[in-house]
Structure formats: C-alpha cells, structure tokens
C-alpha cells in the first residue's frame, strides 16, 4: 500500500538553486527507508517536503493521501497530526519536564487530560525513559533528549515517522541505542520510517532500503540489503 509518493518533484529555491530535479519515488506502508546523500545534495529538501516545511515547485508530493503542496498554511496541522518528526537538534522546550514535553504534542491537538497520561507513559516506556519523567531536558544527556523527541513524535501514534539526522549530534554508541529504538518502533508498531542520515556505519549495519540523492537527483534506489556504502567514500 502506497503511503508516500513523489511524482516528478522539482524544487527550485528563490535564489535559483535547484535542490531537487524530477524526483519520483514511492514508499509503502511499514517500510524503513534511509535517505542518504552529501550535504546540500537535496536530502534535507526531500525530508522537509514530507512535512511541508518546503513545497515542491513542480510535481506533487502525496503523504497519506494528502497532496502536500496543496495544503494551505492554516490546514498544515492535518498533515502533521499523521506524522511524527524527530529532529537532529531535538527541539524540546527547556522549561517543560520530559513528561510535559511529550504531553505537549497531545495538548496541542486538544486531547482529554485523562487520555493523555497513559499515552505519554506508553511512549516514554517504549523509548526507555519512564524513570525520568520529572527531569528537565537540560538535565538529560544527548541520547536521552533524542529519546524524548522520539517519544513525542510517536505519542500520537502516527503512521509515518520522519527522522532528520536523528543521530547527527550523538556519539556512535548512543546512536546505536537510538537506532534500536527506531527499529523497534518500525517492527512493533508497523510505523513507516523515513530517516535522513550520513552515518554510513548505521546504513551498512541496518540493511534497509536506501534512497541515494546526489545533486538533486535520485541517483539510486537500493532495495533492502543491496546497498554498501564503501563505494561512496
């Protein structure tokens, strides 16, 4: 079942830079896809289009049946409620506790207080942070903060989890833990995962489908287990 579809998508920024040129790709429900490429390859633009931080200049992007480029600014929340986003810089609110940060995502949606609690606890248990609900982000390590960010992204039970360089700021061991958490979400909940990264070790070890973007073009679409990163060195 198609969940995400890029149809001849191009993106030209106002300053004339072409970030993506005629990209077409489909991603099915439950897949785990890495998006790799060098800095400024268009990888970030690709990811940002999934949650409509950028709109395509040409072509259409469909996410969960919604035409992303056609959503008005005031209706973007409809798309964002279907997806969870994990950021490289975590984007946690420093004045809220771990629990409040995760609950924030549900409060924004207007959920009942008594429904929020079990969902938040559930999400925090999944990322292994149940013991730290009263801590503030500043008191946590980078890996723990990223796990809070993942918990916030999955608390709404989205169909798609978008991870934009989630291990970019973390050391290899912590990255390993984070990948385990993300992989489990994919396996246990059937959440479709799209993850941008330039960590070759992770890509090599995980053996998942890989989309390689080079200079704005989809240079390769490697099926599960057929990609080895050494050639890109």
């Amino acid at each position: 079942m198609k969940l995400i579809e890029f149809k001849n998508v191009s993106k030209v920024y106002k300053n004339g830079v072409t970030a993506l040129a005629d990209v077409s790709v489909t991603i099915n429900k439950g897949e785990f896809v890495f998006v790799i490429g060098l800095t400024a390859s268009g990888k970030s633009t690709f990811i940002k289009m999934l949650y409509r931080e950028e709109k395509p200049t040409k072509g259409n992007v469909f996410v969960g049946g919604l035409n992303v480029g056609k959503i008005r600014n005031g209706k973007v929340y409809k798309l964002r409620r279907k997806i969870g986003i994990v950021f490289q810089d975590f984007k946690l609110l420093p004045k809220l506790t771990v629990y409040e940060n995760v609950a924030f995502a549900l409060e924004c949606v207007g959920m009942k207080e008594k429904d929020i609690r079990p969902k938040v606890m559930n999400a925090l248990e999944r990322v292994g942070l149940k013991s730290k609900i009263r801590s503030f982000p500043g008191e946590l390590s980078g890996g723990e903060q990223q796990r809070v960010c993942i918990a916030r992204a999955i608390v709404n039970e989205p169909k798609i989890l978008i991870c934009d360089e989630p291990t970019g700021n973390l050391d290899p061991e912590t990255s390993e833990e984070i990948m385990k958490v993300i992989n489990n979400i994919n396996k246990d909940l059937g959440t479709t995962i799209i993850m941008a990264t330039h960590d070759k070790d992770i890509v090599n070890r995980m053996q998942k489908r890989v989309l390689l973007i080079e200079q704005g073009v989809l240079a390769g679409d490697y099926a599960k287990g057929s990609y080895k990163a050494h050639e890109a060195d």
Binding site: V76, R81, F104, A105, C108, V109, G110, K112
Partner: protein
C-alpha cells in the same frame, strides 16, 4: 468538548506564561501603563473641553430688542421672519415684564430704580438660539435689518474668540487622542513582540507537532489581553482618584464659572471602561501580530 478544552488550556497557559516570563510581561505591562496614562489624560481633557464648548454655545443667544409700541401683529410677523432663517434653532418671546422680574431678582438696585419709574422702560425681546455659532454674526445682522427691530445683542467678542479657540483645541485634542492610541498600539505590540520572540521555538514546535493555528494563537491572544488589562489598572486608578481630587480642588470649574468641569461620577467610570477596552484590544492586537510571523513554518 474539544474546543472548550483548548480554550481552558489556553487560559491556563496564558496565565502560566505571564508568570513564567515575568520580566518580559512586566516590561509590556509598564509600557501599557505609561501610554494609557497619557491616553487617559488626553481623553479627560478632550471630554472636558468639548463639554465646556457645548455649555458655552448653549448659553450664547441673540437677543432681539423690538421698537417701542410695536403692534402684536408686527411682533408675530417678525417672529415668523426670524424663524424662517435656516440658522435659527429656537426663538422665544420674552416680554419686558419678564426682563424686569429677572433683573429685580438679580440685583436690588435695579429693583429700586425700576420701581421708581412708572412705566417699564425695558423693551420687548426675542431670545434667539442659533444652530451654528460661526454664522451667528450673519444671522444677527439679518435680524437687525428687519423693520421693527431696534437692535440686537449677542455674545460678547471675548466669548466668541474663546469658543473659536475651544473649537480648535478640541479638534487638536481629538487628533492627539487618536495619535496616542495608535502609538500605544505600536509600542505595546512591539513590546509583546519581544515577549513572544523569546518563545519562537515554542510556536515552531506547536506547529510541527500538529497544533492548529487557532490553538496556537489563543494562549498568546489571552496573554496579550491579560497584559493589557493589568496594564490598565494603574491608569484607571490615576483617572479616578486624580480626576475626583482635581474636581474638588477646583470646585468643579476651571478659571471662571464659564468653564465647568464634567461631574466626576460616571464620567471617571466611563473613561476607565474606555481604558480597559483600549488596553485589552491593543494587547490582543499586539500578540496576534507578533505570532503571525512565526506561523509560517
């Protein structure tokens, strides 16, 4: 149920963030306070000047003295003639006996002198009220030209100029009030912008986790409202106490009996109401304007 929950949460969040970001909220509140005090002063002056102008204008009328021995028929004719003038609002016949009684009441000397004379030496008159003060002179001149009219008398020159000056001052004050309100809006919205700028990331995250624009705006809207209302407390106190004290110190008049101040009760409350409304609205406007910028992500 869902909208109500969002509203309740917005109130909670708004109060929370006024308290949590107290130093910035305080700056916004002080800014509101200072500008609203200026607005209050301007409104009070404007209202008083317009009130005084009106009172003086009401009192100004043309007195038409008729020739002695004018027949009743002729008096009636003169009355219709004057009434046909477009600038005439009201015309009242005032007989010489009425004048006599009035003068007698006014001063004992008149009483003695008038009673000494056998005949009433005064003239029959009309008291004419005009619609527009500026055209009073023209009207008076016209009435003077009617046959049977001996002379006319109207507002002394000094009062005339006073009214003109008041007219100008009144217009200037109205402009000042409007300008002050605009400046207040600008200042408050800028200060609130600073408050909200510090919470840019919060708005961003709300957008990214799927908060609708209304749900994002509402807490900020309420926060701006709260800041505006709190900011109007001191100006209201200044208005109420200040004006009441001023009124009693001046015995309700300014310089002369001509310029009467507006009675403080009800008036101060009306001004307070206006201040609260300005504070609240401007606060909300400021925060809406500030949030809009960050809703594009």
């Amino acid at each position: 149920m869902k909208p109500i929950r969002i509203i309740i949460r917005s109130f909670r969040d708004a109060f929370k963030s006024v308290v949590r970001n107290f130093s910035l909220s305080f700056a916004s509140i002080m800014c509101t306070t200072i500008t609203l005090i200026l607005v209050a002063v301007a409104i009070v002056s404007a209202a008083n000047i317009s009130n005084a102008t009106k009172l003086i204008e009401d009192e100004l009328s043309i007195i038409v003295y008729l020739e002695k021995e004018t027949s009743e028929e002729k008096i009636e004719n003169i009355k219709t003639d004057i009434e046909s003038q477009s600038n005439v609002e009201k015309i009242v016949y005032k007989s010489k006996d009425e004048w006599k009684h009035e003068l007698e009441d006014y001063d004992d000397t008149f009483d003695t002198v008038l009673n000494y004379l056998e005949d009433n030496p005064l003239l029959e008159t009309f008291v004419v009220k005009t619609k527009e003060l500026n055209k009073m002179e023209d009207t008076a001149n016209y009435i003077k030209s009617i046959s049977g009219v001996k002379t006319v008398k109207y507002g002394e020159g000094s009062i005339d100029t006073l009214v003109t000056v008041f007219d100008i001052v009144q217009k200037v004050v109205v402009i000042v009030v409007i300008a002050l309100i605009l400046v207040t809006a600008f200042l408050i919205s800028n200060t609130i912008k600073l408050t909200i700028f510090s919470r840019k990331s919060e708005i961003e995250i709300m957008r990214l986790v799927g908060g609708s624009n209304i749900a994002i705006r509402l807490p900020f809207l309420i926060e701006g409202f709260i800041i505006g209302i709190i900011g109007s407390i001191i100006p209201i106190c200044v208005t109420i106490y200040g004006y009441v004290i001023l009124y009693s110190q001046l015995n309700g008049r300014l310089f002369t009996n001509l310029i009467m101040l507006i009675k403080p009760y009800n008036f101060v409350f009306q001004v307070s109401g206006v201040l609260v409304i300005i504070g609240g609205l401007v606060g909300m406007y400021g925060s809406l304007k500030a949030v809009r910028k960050y809703l594009k992500i």
